[in-house]
């Protein structure tokens, strides 16, 4: 009844620090992805200034091989993130669902959407990366044409991405930090609103440009 010891089989076969390493891998890969996502949105938003600014930034990243290092690196980080976070999904998701429905607790609900948005991002972001690479190099005209045709796709991806990033980073601060939850929540909500607004503005400009090209 009183299980107090450590199972010998488990302690023999398993690195006792594995849970820590996985948790840190989740934290670090998550932070890198959020950093990337926000930088990406700021870069994309240069279209608001003008197509020339956007093109010269894309050219700069291309000339200095930053794109060729960055894209595979972020792909790898995303892959690591997926592998380490999958362990968090309960074996029987019904257990979690039933619990969430019983206690009606806000943060418990948001975690369900964390899983749902993760699935959405995995699919949509893969398609997006594939489309960008197929249309290489990045320039305002091809981007505008793509956004014009698939604006709904990018709208969904933007919202899913920012939701997942915002709540993900919030939860890491809650788990590791010493700052009040309300303060972190407010700061992250503000950043998310700014990033989403930038994203929407960029999307709008692209759609307009795409329309002009036709």
């Amino acid at each position: 009844m009183l299980d107090t010891g450590i199972s010998p089989q488990r302690s023999m076969g398993r690195n006792p620090r594995i849970d820590l390493y996985l948790d840190l891998a989740q934290l670090i890969s998550g932070f890198l992805l959020v950093g990337f996502l926000w930088t990406h949105m700021v870069f994309v938003a240069t279209i608001i200034i003008g197509a020339d600014t956007f093109n010269s930034l894309a050219q700069f990243l291309d000339d200095y091989y930053l794109s060729y290092v960055g894209i595979p690196f972020i792909g790898l980080v995303a892959l690591i993130h997926v592998i380490v976070v999958v362990r968090r999904i309960p074996n029987r998701y019904q257990d979690y669902w039933r619990h969430a429905r019983t206690i009606m607790h806000f943060d418990t609900w948001t975690w369900i959407f964390q899983v749902v948005t993760a699935l959405g991002i995995a699919i949509l972001a893969s398609i997006h990366v594939f489309a960008v690479i197929m249309g290489w190099p990045i320039d305002a005209d091809t981007s505008a044409a793509r956004m014009h045709a698939f604006w709904w796709f990018y709208l969904v991806l933007l919202i899913l991405g920012e939701y997942h990033a915002g709540f993900g980073i919030y939860r890491q601060f809650v788990k590791w930090g010493w700052i009040k939850r309300k303060t972190i929540g407010f700061a992250l909500k503000s950043i998310t609103v700014i990033i989403v607004a930038l994203g929407l503005a960029a999307l709008w400009v692209f759609v307009q440009l795409g329309g002009a090209l036709r």
Binding site: T4, D19, P90, H99, I103, H105, D107, W111, V174, R181
Partner: protein, 242 residues
């Protein structure tokens, strides 16, 4: 004085009579001024149904016996007022813990296991000498120990915790809060590595998802986010140091 008639929907099941399936039973009761869930349950038991099982001891939110799910949320029946609710109130026993019957659960076995598993006592090699004065402790440290010690072990944090509801071996906020208390206690001679063995895994602090239903449902308002984060940071450092 309120004129409301409350309808309580109460979970009924007695493991001693498994042939009677679990069900929700309704009771009607006239609300009294300043009525708590505990008072309401006592009235129902006295006037309507003597077979109704629920726990209480102190009636002053000190003992932690009367925790239950009130409209789905873990609360102490003795400090929850009926006037803060609508006329329909659902009462369920706390999940995770072993059901004794109806609203009564056995938190004792769970917390006993927690105490043994976390070795929740001061570990020291010093021989106790009753003739000398106790060693002094500075006030700040004493307060840091007293804060987590306010835990009344009602089980609300465990019942609210998604991880504890999913995996049986998770120590939960009550367990990690307890460990945090010994970590700051200068009388406890355990090393970081010894603590890591106890809580440095998914059974311990790394199993926490950070949903904070523990903190949001704690009747004594313990700063569980700080406590959990404190243990997590300490264990991360200990684990990386080797």
């Amino acid at each position: 004085m309120s004129n409301r008639t409350l309808t309580f929907s109460v979970f009924r099941y007695n493991p001693a009579t498994p042939e009677i399936k679990p069900c929700m039973q309704s009771y009607q009761l006239k609300e009294a001024g300043g009525m708590t869930m505990f008072v309401a349950l006592t009235k129902i038991r006295e006037e309507q149904d003597p077979s109704l099982m629920f726990d209480f001891v102190c009636r002053a939110s000190i003992c932690g016996s009367c925790a239950m799910l009130i409209n789905g949320k873990p609360r102490l029946a003795c400090k929850t007022l009926t006037r803060d609710y609508g006329t329909k109130i659902t009462l369920m026993p706390l999940p995770v813990f072993k059901l004794i019957g109806d609203l009564s659960v056995d938190t004792g076995t769970w917390f006993r296991r927690l105490s043994v598993k976390t070795r929740a006592w001061v570990h020291t090699k010093k021989e106790f000498d009753p003739t000398v004065l106790e060693e002094r402790m500075d006030n700040a440290t004493a307060l840091e120990i007293y804060e987590p010690e306010r835990c009344i072990e009602c089980g609300c944090c465990i019942a609210g915790c998604a991880t504890a509801n999913i995996r049986e071996d998770f120590l939960g906020a009550a367990g990690l809060n307890r460990v945090a208390r010994f970590m700051v206690d200068p009388r406890d001679e355990r090393s970081e590595q010894e603590y890591f063995e106890i809580v440095g895994s998914d059974e311990g602090v790394f199993g926490c998802y950070g949903l904070m239903a523990c903190e949001d449902n704690c009747p004594t308002k313990l700063p569980l986010q700080y406590q959990l984060a404190f243990v997590r940071r300490k264990m991360a450092v200990a684990g990386l140091k080797r």
